[in-house]
Point group: C2
Chain length 206, copies 2
Amino acid sequence: MTTVPDPEDLTARARIRDAAMRHIGEHGFERATIREIAEAAGVSLGLVRHHFGSKQALREACDEHLIKVIRKLHEEAARDPRGGLNPVAVMGPYQPYLARALTEGWAAPLFDEMVDIGERWIAEADKSRPEPPDVDARSRSTMIAAMALAPTVLRRHVERGLGVDLTSPEGQVKLMRAVLDIYSHSLLSPEEAAQARKALDRGQTT
Amino acid sequence: MTTVPDPEDLTARARIRDAAMRHIGEHGFERATIREIAEAAGVSLGLVRHHFGSKQALREACDEHLIKVIRKLHEEAARDPRGGLNPVAVMGPYQPYLARALTEGWAAPLFDEMVDIGERWIAEADKSRPEPPDVDARSRSTMIAAMALAPTVLRRHVERGLGVDLTSPEGQVKLMRAVLDIYSHSLLSPEEAAQARKALDRGQTT
DNA sequence: GTCTATATAATGATAGAC
DNA sequence: GTCTATCATTATATAGAC
């Protein structure tokens, strides 16, 4: 489990960065102020500037740290790819920041890395697939990555729908149960899918 | 198809509202300024205030309009539920605003309405399902709604992964093909799902 | 490394004329 | 209904002392 070190143990620089990730995760980059971040970290406004220079640079430092955390999680998950189906469970306190990074548009390398990993997994699975896939592995990996990240970026809505707190163990269990049920039951039969494909071929995009 | 009326034909109030939806969709609520919105609509800052009173109220007017548009689309899609699998194709120019509304946290009723609609559809499908579902229909509907909205809220990333513009007809076809393939092929076998469920029962949340 | 104080720019809100 | 001009606030960036 990803445990967060005691704030007292961290350098001021690390405390500021963690406070920034929390505040940006909660309020978004625009609404998060370096004043409040400084206060939450227990330092002055001037010290934030001393360490990071600007609000932009502070955000980039947060991004670098997020990537470092995710790389480590990816390596841990490499042995058990099913863990990757549930980024919510595994991202811990960095999950809100990840959601902001994805939706506010500065996390492209992160998303692409998830697609890379999934693509290899899918290419492997394709070898034992009876009929040839209709679309390339990268496109499917992209869609699966997007679907897997949906609970992260739409967390508030998913929590309301499931009636649980997704940061709680019970919430994560309920989420996983729902995901398992959906992933193990096709939403469309092969016949329905074939019919829909035909409609696409005829040029009906709706 | 949802065609946008010629801007010249609209009242100033409607032009301002449409410009606001475009700007908020593109930059987010915080970064969108009423000055730029006014300029895009071809009116003065004062007129925006005259019609809407405040930036908040302008956003609420945009929300109301979005709901109206979506209600209409829902009614059209009621006869063909498969269309609902692809909100990107159908939302047209309002899609970026919808994404902001969902991720910046003020579109709860909209999401819940999607869940409602899906829930009825799932409850119907459950009647002809061999084994009993592991989780309630609402939870599954919530997850499916979130997954269906993933291309909308993660549009930029999905476009990069698919290598297409999702607002283009070709982009929508490619998206639909990928979705159809995934929805008609279980990502997990019943055995894998059962195994994962057992792990959850044993208390392993990762 | 850490702080306080100040400068500057942007933006939402307001007032009032036409 | 529509405009221009102005106010007040807020937040980032900067300077400089300890």
